[in-house]
Amino acid sequence: MKSSTVENNKQKDVLLEVNDLRIYFDINRKKVAKAVDGVDFSIHKGETVALVGESGSGKSVTSLSVIGLVPMPPGKIISGTIKLEEQELLSLPEKSMRKVRGNDIGMIFQEPMTSLDPVFTIGNQIIESLVYHQRLSKKEARKQAIELLKIVGIANSEKVIDEYPHQLSGGMRQRVMIAIALSNNPKLLIADEPTTALDVTVQSQILKLMLKMKDTFNSSILLITHDMGVVAETADRVLVMYGGQIVEEAAVKELFLNPKHPYTMALLKTMPNLDQNLRRLPSIPGNVPPAHQFPEGCRFADRCEFVMEKCRQVAPELVRISDGHKARCHLPFLKGGEYDAQ
């Protein structure tokens, strides 16, 4: 869609570029869920980008599409391109896509309890992809697997390598997942709510580990979360997603200090504040509209504090507010934002 001058300047070190991505799911003959509905974003080399939004906003589907694992059917790709460096991923045949998965992109999932195969040892599950993608011998692969486990902070890795997933704690399993995702030195690490299922103390350990690994392996991270605290701790840049679209995009500091979209503001308010001493996390009133019946105008209109007549009729575009800051809202005009028409 619109390409800003800033992005053109940085073209050289863009790792991933997603354009006009639309992924719909056939729910039944009449209903189509627009899970991802016109998403553009890019990730630069060495960058950590957070993708935030409430449940059902399309974060997982977006990330799965990058790695080519959207279940099809019921899913179908309506439009878009996903470029990893020079390679177009959406049109890639399955066989080449497998190479990309094994070599260029690693993924960590939310549930460490169920994301590992329960009937094979940890070692087996790391070794198999080393053997397949790097053509190592079993023995070499095992050595490397032990090494990898050490790198992700598992001390007694010679022992752990022969254990089964059920013998490990949640945090340990997530470390193993990270080791698996890193085993072939990926350029991009996608983490879909990697710490949601873990204890708070373990959470920050895992996040720290991921950032360290990013530096060690010189890769980029796409981190999916609905926890603004996690965003503040880890991200360089933030994409806020709502109803299958990106509604705001900014550098992390800019987003926290100067949010433009009412949804982002509401999300920030849900952050637990140290001096507030709240028992329960506040949540945004109202519900995300179901992906098969989005309203005509702005998808957030029904829950928006600042809703105007126009919002219900015209869907806002994602517009540039300042360098690297975009928002999908009619409001910035009124508030005298630095919007310049392109």
């Binding site: 497998r98 998965r101 094994g102 999932f109 009937v119 599950q125 397949y132």
Partner: protein, 313 residues
């Protein structure tokens, strides 16, 4: 190890329980074997003396203990109808039944497993409606009818097959096969029709699970995803089903032995029941039980080989 010991204990307890039930059932069942043997004309003294001779007048618990001892020493008493030791009769007939049953079991596993995987991988091509009608059909076919159809269309037309009787393995392997394959098929075909769909369901269930997505995210080929990971995981529920088949296959032999005139345990069981030949019936029921319980034990052990989570419990 602990797991195996517990299973072994369970095995012993089950067999002991079944032995008590078997023994008790024949005490309360109507029909007097002695009267059946001697006919309606026999007088009371004759009956009484035969009762004494057979040990039927002693206290029940003594009879039971004797019988259990016999179970271990192989002396199960004499058959009333055949006037032969029960153990001799069993030893004669057992190989026939075991051959048919194990051959049927092997056919079921060799066909239902690959077939289930095949249709699971082509989920879109084979709708569940079509497959479940196959299953319904398989369940609806009476095995005596299927047996006769096989005799009529295969047994009569292909020289290799004998349509009745049994040739022992020791005499000729080819001969044994020629008498066993059709009966085994008769048992196996309806089983396959039902069980391949269990295999399919188990595999499809596994495909939905998170760990499969992880393996795919590693960029491993479909071969490894399906035949290494999914299959091994799916084997756990599949094994349960195949444990159940054993009992059904053993039951299936009873009818099939009639259709193909095979001198097996099933035939012997029918004869012994109609003659109220209690020692023989008890012996047969005990051996069938032990076979089934033992196979379930083997299945349990296999579980622990496949599933590391079980070894801990």
């Amino acid at each position: 190890m602990f797991y195996i010991i517990r299973r072994l204990l369970l095995l012993v307890v089950t067999i002991a329980l079944v032995s008590i039930i078997t023994f008790a059932v024949f005490q309360i069942l109507p029909g007097d074997p002695v009267r059946t043997m001697l006919g309606t004309e026999a007088d009371e003294t004759q009956i009484e003396s035969l009762r004494n001779e057979l040990g039927l007048n002693r206290p029940l618990h003594e009879q039971y203990v004797d019988w259990i001892k016999g179970l271990f020493t192989g002396d199960l008493g004499n058959s009333i109808r055949f006037s032969m030791p029960v153990s001799t009769l069993l030893m004669e007939r057992l190989p026939v039944t075991l051959s048919v049953a194990s051959m049927a079991l092997i056919i079921v596993v060799l066909v239902a497993l690959p077939l289930g995987i095949f249709v699971a991988k082509r989920q879109k091509k084979f709708s569940d409606v079509v497959l479940s009608s196959v299953t319904q059909l398989g369940m609806a076919i009476p095995s005596f009818w299927l047996g006769m159809i096989l005799i009529l269309y295969i047994g009569m037309n292909v020289d290799f097959f004998k349509i009745s009787g049994y040739i022992p393995w020791s005499e000729s392997i080819k001969g044994a096969l020629s008498t066993l394959i059709l009966p085994a098929l008769t048992i196996a075909i309806p089983q396959i029709a039902v069980k391949f769909r269990y295999v399919r369901t188990s595999i499809l269930e596994q495909m939905q699970l998170d760990y499969v997505r992880t393996i795919r995210s590693k960029g491993l080929p479909e071969k490894i995803v399906v035949y290494k990971h999914i299959l091994k995981n799916a084997l756990i529920p599949i094994l349960t089903i195949f444990g159940l088949i054993t009992a059904e296959v053993v039951a299936g032999t009873i009818i099939v032995e009639q259709v193909f005139a095979l001198p097996g345990i099933g035939q012997l069981l029918i004869t012994s029941i109609s003659y109220r030949d209690f020692p023989l019936v008890q012996g047969i029921v005990m051996y069938i039980t032990i076979t089934v319980v033992f196979i379930n034990f083997v299945v349990d052990i296999l579980y622990s080989v496949i599933d590391p989570r079980i070894r801990l419990r």
